[in-house]
């Protein structure tokens, strides 16, 4: 495959193009073709895996925009997904609302929450910001639990499959294609966004907020916009999550979920959309890979599983796939993620 070598751009059209060389274009087309025919050959299990990856990718891209590009740390990602899922569940249960109502409504709720999540970022950085988003996570999850208990859905809310016009989306293949299309749109949107004025402003803020302000970037407005945009996307992912699982319950939205999303973007490499895709695939598939390995090697003990997970993560984490700058901490983060899988089994 021919890569673009150096920075030889002689026209504006070339500068704007997303795909740089012809062979890359061919590969991309082949990839899309492959993804399009995949569900007709794959077993239900692999189809389900692919759908899970697609579902997680929306949330991961949203978090990448916020953390990887705008540099704002958030521990409230699971809370935002919960917000989208619960908006969908409540609208469905109370008003029997269809998909084309719940999806924008989830986005709207996400946007409002994004402003609330983003407000502390105007005054706080780093650890303190992470803690304020963590507090919001607990508050959102509490509101969901309150709804569950007051309306009598103690174990969770069951949601019917959504319908697009006459079409009821229940078939796994239909889900696959729906999520694939949404994912392609989201990825293209994200790639273009980070090349735009907004994206460049975010990166300037990430690299040095004081310098960004001196360049005339409205730091607070752009920080808030990053939170709002990321939250809208995350809540939409939450809405789709609710329909896909057909069941919403607060137990699903634990801190573990937040950490998984953070692991996705860090393993992929902060500041890279392509990295997010690989990180998501890795994190979603890892438990299954370990499962297969454990079966193949016939080691029943949990501890061994955990060691495996840790070693895999450490090795891969240290030279993370894509991304800018060497961040050694990612190896350790990956290690901590390995710890979780001790529990997955």
């Amino acid at each position: 495959m021919a890569f673009a070598s150096g920075y030889f751009k002689t026209s504006y059209a070339k500068d704007l193009s997303i795909v740089e060389t012809r062979s890359r274009c061919t590969c991309l087309l082949l990839l899309i073709l492959g993804l399009a025919v995949f569900p007709f050959f794959a077993s239900p299990f692999f189809l389900d895996l692919a759908t899970q990856v697609f579902l997680a990718l929306i949330g991961a891209v949203a978090l990448m925009l916020l953390t990887g590009y705008a540099g704002q740390i958030s521990l409230g990602h699971a809370g935002l997904i919960a917000a989208g899922a619960f908006t969908t569940a409540i609208l469905f249960k109370e008003l029997k609302a269809p998909l084309f109502v719940t999806l924008p409504a989830s986005g709207l709720v996400g946007g409002l929450l994004g402003i609330i999540f983003g407000l502390p970022s105007l005054r706080l950085k780093g650890l303190y910001l992470a803690l304020s988003t963590l507090a919001l996570h607990f508050i959102v999850v509490y509101l969901g639990a309150e709804y569950e208990s007051t309306r009598g859905y103690a174990t969770g809310v069951v949601i019917d499959p959504p319908s697009l016009g006459p079409l009821i989306i229940q078939d796994p293949r239909l889900w696959y294609f729906l999520l694939l299309i949404i994912d392609i749109l989201v990825v293209i949107f994200a790639i273009n966004l980070v090349r735009s004025r907004t994206g460049r402003a975010w990166m300037a803020i990430r690299d040095r907020d004081v310098a960004a302000e001196a360049l005339g970037i409205k730091v607070s407005a752009y920080k808030l916009s990053a939170f709002v945009l990321s939250s809208v996307l995350t809540s939409i992912a939450g809405c789709l999550f609710a329909y896909f699982r057909g069941f919403v319950s607060v137990e699903a939205f634990s801190l573990l979920m937040t950490i998984e999303y953070i692991a996705m973007i860090i393993i992929g490499g902060l500041g890279s959309i392509l990295g997010t895709v690989f990180g998501t695939i890795f994190v979603v598939l890892l438990p299954y890979i370990i499962d297969i390995l454990v079966d193949a090697l016939n080691v029943p003990a949990r501890l061994t599983t955990y060691m495996f997970a840790k070693i895999c993560q450490l090795r891969v984490g240290h030279d993370h796939f894509f991304g800018s700058g060497a961040r050694r901490s990612c190896g350790h983060l990956a290690a901590c993620q390995g710890l979780f899988y001790a529990l997955a089994f």
């Binding site: 407000l119 706080l124 303190y128 607990f138 950490i259 901490s329 350790h332």
Partner: protein
Amino acid sequence: MQIYVNIITLASLYCLICCGYVLIYRASRVLNLAHGEMMTIGGYFLFTVSIGIIADPIPSFLLSFLLSLLLGFVVYFFLMRFMTGESVFAAVLVTVALGILMRGLITLIWTSQLWHPLQHLDMENTSHQIAEGAVISTFGVVTILSTIVLYLGLFLCFKFTRWGLRMRAVGEKPLLAAQRGFGLHKFYALSWGIAVFSGGLAGMIQACDSGLDPSMFVIGLKAFPVVLVGGLDSLVGVIPGAFVVAAAEVLAINYISPQASEVAPFAVLLAMLLIRPWGLFGTKEELERV
């Protein structure tokens, strides 16, 4: 009247838990989000010791203290030691992960059943009438007393002993302290040891007071707003912070709903972060350091 008693008991429980957060933060700038689980494990240590080794209250408590202290050293030397010098955020995430792992281990070893260590210790948790319409349990009194003893002990230790002075120095400027020849890891490990010990103590008392099950870690999680209200790097700040959070929680139970009390500490935390992010007694420069 009962409300005041409840607030004081809860506040002293929070004081016991939170001194661990502050000690670790001051030493290594890491906020240990696995503290709730460490506290729970303290309770389980007492339970295991009381059924397996000694049923006599005082030796079994002492043995569990020792085990908690050891747990702190083990966690530091086998996990957190590798995180020194890494980004604070990564270290915090590692503690979150550690917490989840510990929660799994607790359910694995001791199951999620509700246990009562008191039965095995041959003790009873009676209530005492202290004033008009106010009762307090024996272990409520124990909480308050041990908080006073622990804080006095820590104060005297930090103020007047050589080791206390060194621990303060290490927390203040690790580089200078290292250049003076202090073994940093030794002091970090000591902070972790004392922190897990005090958390474990809180867990043991709580286990005696109201039984033991894996969901006890939530108390530890609800306690971290206390440190932020008081100021992350201030041991003194924990006391007013604990009172503010405990009051918010008890009043929420009384006037809103029991479920609201679960989030009241976090609401207080958010308010504090928006108004005065460095806390009541914290130093403002701390905000720039992380």
